[in-house]
């Protein structure tokens, strides 16, 4: 087991492996440190253990090898689906975590109002999820996570089921939230463009069992304007990530 250097890191994986009960090896030899305020994208082929990485980080499952350490007071987790409670209004959905954590009513109200304003849904607080579009539902889910005032935000392909236009808009918004709150983020995705546009570092995982194949630094600062997507530098990194993802032809 590798000794993990936790000081100053929001999250660190040292030599982490995960083998499920049925013998499937999902991840192997993962070394990764997420510094406070750092935005890391993780990209890899389907079934490479990306989601397992997040579940390990959140403590929803335990590593069978190595060490996962977190130094974040609060951790937010945004799932692939918005996972809203369909019987609750937008407001009540966003207040859910405050309720579960026993925050006083006024405080959870304040946090919810603030988060809802940040995702631009103030006019929709009384609506229920089934009356909203997919993109709006995902905003509610993001707002709900923001009420935790997270120091670490884990995102599991949150925009995977949205159309391209909505996805780009939500990418811009996520960066705006990142700018406003400065959490550390671990963002799992299938999309190369999304991975590069959002992150300071892009981690490429191999097919199962997932290992870190390569790591790319994205030299753009924040706030990052949407036009960055069309710059030459961006295209160069994206094509490198893409090539690495395709790997040697077999």
């Amino acid at each position: 087991m590798v000794l993990a250097q936790t000081i100053g890191a929001a999250l660190s994986f040292s030599g982490v492996g995960k083998r499920y009960g049925d013998g499937t090896e999902a991840l192997s030899g993962i070394d990764l440190t997420v510094a406070p305020g750092e935005f890391i994208s993780v990209i890899g082929p389907s079934g490479c253990g990306k989601s397992t990485l997040l579940r390990l980080a959140a403590g929803l499952t335990t590593a069978t090898q190595g060490l996962v350490e977190r130094d974040a007071r609060s951790v937010g987790y945004v799932f692939q689906d918005p996972t809203l409670l369909p019987w609750r209004s937008v407001q009540a959905n966003v207040e859910l975590f405050g309720e579960l954590n026993g925050l006083p009513k006024a405080e959870r109200r304040r946090r919810a109002d603030e988060a809802i304003a940040l995702v631009g849904l103030t006019e929709f607080t009384r609506r229920r999820p089934h009356t909203l579009s997919g993109g709006m539902r995902m905003r509610v889910s993001l707002a709900r996570s923001l009420t935790l005032e997270p120091e670490l935000l884990l995102l599991d392909e949150p925009f995977g089921s949205l159309d391209e236009i909505t996805r780009e808009r939500l990418n811009d918004e996520l960066l705006r939230m990142f700018g406003a709150r400065r959490f550390a983020a671990l963002f799992v995705t299938h999309s190369v463009a999304e991975a590069v546009f959002l992150a300071t570092r892009v981690i490429v995982l191999s097919p199962r069992p997932g290992r870190i194949l390569a790591e790319f630094h994205v030299p753009f600062g924040y706030p990052r304007p949407g036009e960055a997507r069309f710059s030459q530098e961006f295209a160069r990194i994206a094509s490198q990530v893409s090539a690495c993802l395709r790997g040697p032809l077999t």
Binding site: Q80, D81, T83, W87, N101
Partner: protein, 266 residues
């Protein structure tokens, strides 16, 4: 296009037409098929209305019976709901509890409760309590199984959501499982509502003692060959079942309006 089927513009017209046809057939059988001395087998509709409903004394007798049966059915259903949901909650807590209780629930469902009525009467008397008890036993099973199904089919992602916030059993039950199970609970309620009416009316039939409900009246009229009143009583019993079914359908749509329209938003 749904397979060549077209939706009529006025949906109440076809059933209305069918209703008129059925009344017509009824009259035809009464007057054309049956000789006057055998007409009591199927008295014409207007005679049923006249004797059963327009005669004040007969009507009072019928309505008193209907009221008793309605009370028995609704109280039985209420008790079955409370007990059934509670049982399902207990069963949802651990597999071993579910496994130990399930066979007995199946037995409860398979034995003919009505055949036990004489025994229950023997133990508890033939009063209101026993009538309600029979109703509860008949109506219990669908509520337990549907509620349990609802409680256990909550999305894993929703459970993860609550786990991440360190939610305990009670918060999970109250804020996640029970609301998520509401549509299933109402499905059970609708089935059980019909069963409760059957339990009240048919159970009554078997009691033969105590204050007569609609079932006892049906038996009485049959014995006395008062066929107009017999038909009126049967019609009332059917209407009671229909009313209860429709009422719970409407209530269910109001309470769980988020359910049917929800499209993958979880």
């Amino acid at each position: 296009m749904n397979g060549g089927r077209t939706a009529p513009r006025r949906p109440w017209i076809p059933p209305l037409v069918l209703f008129v046809v059925m009344i017509g057939v009824w009259y035809a059988v009464s007057y054309l098929l049956l000789s006057p001395d055998r007409r009591f087998l199927l008295p014409p509709p207007h005679a049923v209305v006249q004797v059963g409903f327009l005669d004040a004394a007969n009507r009072a007798e019928l309505l008193t019976g209907l009221r008793l049966s309605t009370e028995v059915a609704l109280i039985g259903l209420a008790v079955a709901t409370v007990v059934g949901v509670a049982l399902a909650i207990v069963m949802a807590q651990a597999t071993w509890i579910e496994r130990s209780l399930h066979p007995y629930l199946v037995i409860l469902q398979t034995i003919p409760i009505l055949a036990l009525v004489p025994l229950f009467g023997f133990w508890f008397g033939f009063g209101f309590f026993t009538r309600v008890l029979v109703c509860v036993l008949i109506a219990l099973f669908p509520i337990v199984t549907n509620t349990l199904f609802g409680l256990l089919s909550v999305d894993q992602a929703h459970h993860d959501l609550f786990t991440l916030q360190g939610a305990g059993r009670l918060a999970r039950l109250w804020k996640l499982q029970l609301p998520a199970a509401l549509p299933s609970i109402f499905t059970g309620l609708r089935i059980s509502a019909g069963l409760a009416v059957i339990g009240a009316v048919v159970g009554d039939f078997f009691f033969r003692q105590g204050e007569p409900g609609i079932g006892a009246l049906i038996d009485l009229y049959r014995g006395r060959l008062q066929s107009e009143q017999l038909f009126a009583a049967v019609a009332l019993a059917s209407l009671l079942g229909l009313a209860v079914f429709l009422a719970f359908g409407a209530l269910s749509r109001r309470v769980t309006d988020w359910h049917s329209t929800q499209d993958g938003g979880h």
